[in-house]
Symmetry: C2
Subunit: 217 residues, 2 copies
Amino acid sequence: MPLGLNENEIERVDELVDKRLKVARGETLFQSGDKFNALFAIRTGFFKTHISTEDGREQVTGFQMAGEVIGLDGIVSEQHTCNVVALEDAEVCVMPFDRIEELSRKITSLQRHFHKIMSREIVRENGVMLFLGSMNSEERVAVFLINLVKRLHLRGFSSSELILKMSREDISSYLGMRLETVGRSFKKMIAEGILEVNGRHVRIINLNALTDLTLLK
Amino acid sequence: MPLGLNENEIERVDELVDKRLKVARGETLFQSGDKFNALFAIRTGFFKTHISTEDGREQVTGFQMAGEVIGLDGIVSEQHTCNVVALEDAEVCVMPFDRIEELSRKITSLQRHFHKIMSREIVRENGVMLFLGSMNSEERVAVFLINLVKRLHLRGFSSSELILKMSREDISSYLGMRLETVGRSFKKMIAEGILEVNGRHVRIINLNALTDLTLLK
DNA sequence: CGCGTCATTGATGTGCATCAAGTGGTGTGG
DNA sequence: CCACACCACTTGATGCACATCAATGACGCG
């Protein structure tokens, strides 16, 4: 957690963490209906969140990586409303919510930090609504890749190369399209010399062109 | 604000409100890029929030009514990222964010309440992602109407009749479709005896059938 | 190695966008 | 007070982007 805290405060933030939890690839961290007690900060690994309705519909709502926080959906009704699955072996910090609230009453900067995390999630979802509501398939794929590589770059990874931890199906659900269409969008971008794709290995050859794809011409 | 507070605490919550603000129909409460200082609780009236990109794309991200809170998007970067427009003459309570944080350090139940408001917004947006990503046009319209009438009913209005404060265009943007398609969905539901529609006046004849439309058959 | 999962590719169908014209209600000014 | 313009909405005709269906290919892993 990157904060503006002094030494003493950092120690106290450690109090937030009840324990660490390992989640193996494919395992569920929590699911819809589970009682909400804690938020989870990802130490390592990669997750997807998705919601499912009684009638069998599924929608992937996001992909989360190290440093991001999961579980915010559970606060409102003290019960989770989405499912979280590890897409690779992962480790999370369990932060009991009572403790978060207690400590953020004492440490102003922590309080502010936590509020920003929630707000960031709201803004992120606004962005998802934007592409789901008003972009064609190729634009969606471009937005998706750019966002992913940007976040990975912030974590010290390459800004032009990435390994997709999720399946085409997960991507397509997140982007509101069919997996075949995701594949064909890739194909088109490859033909245009924008990408190289090998299974889940993606290399961005021309980031500018990719960015241009997200823009209305 | 419906809280679990004692008398004394309720008085202190009044401290949250700096002032009231009237917003005339068509006016903008705040827009993307504006400095964030405060949240706004709607006392009366009806708003839409939307985001716009540099390239001219627009997406309506929500409709808000009395008792709901606007401005949560601004917390993360101390700057708003969406636009809020009154769809009818409205009045809001301006709650400086500093004061919210300060007071929620002192009043536990207020703190919890505020966190729930943010979490509720996250869950709401998850629901929007669901229908944007995985429902056809008729299902979207059905979800939209049911949600709207339910919220109005909670506020003492009819559970079967409503006046749409927003245009077909606003609806269509929110639902990720074209205004013509919204109209045609209405038409179909009218033909099936589910709705009566007269301009912006909508009467739900058969709520069960409308609900069924939102379900995968 | 062999099976199952995941991805690619092609052929066909369709839901919704797009384009275009028409309707009705409302406000304005001559 | 009517004529006109304007706006929000409706209705119809057409086309296309993407879904759907189906078959094959390529891993990755047990």
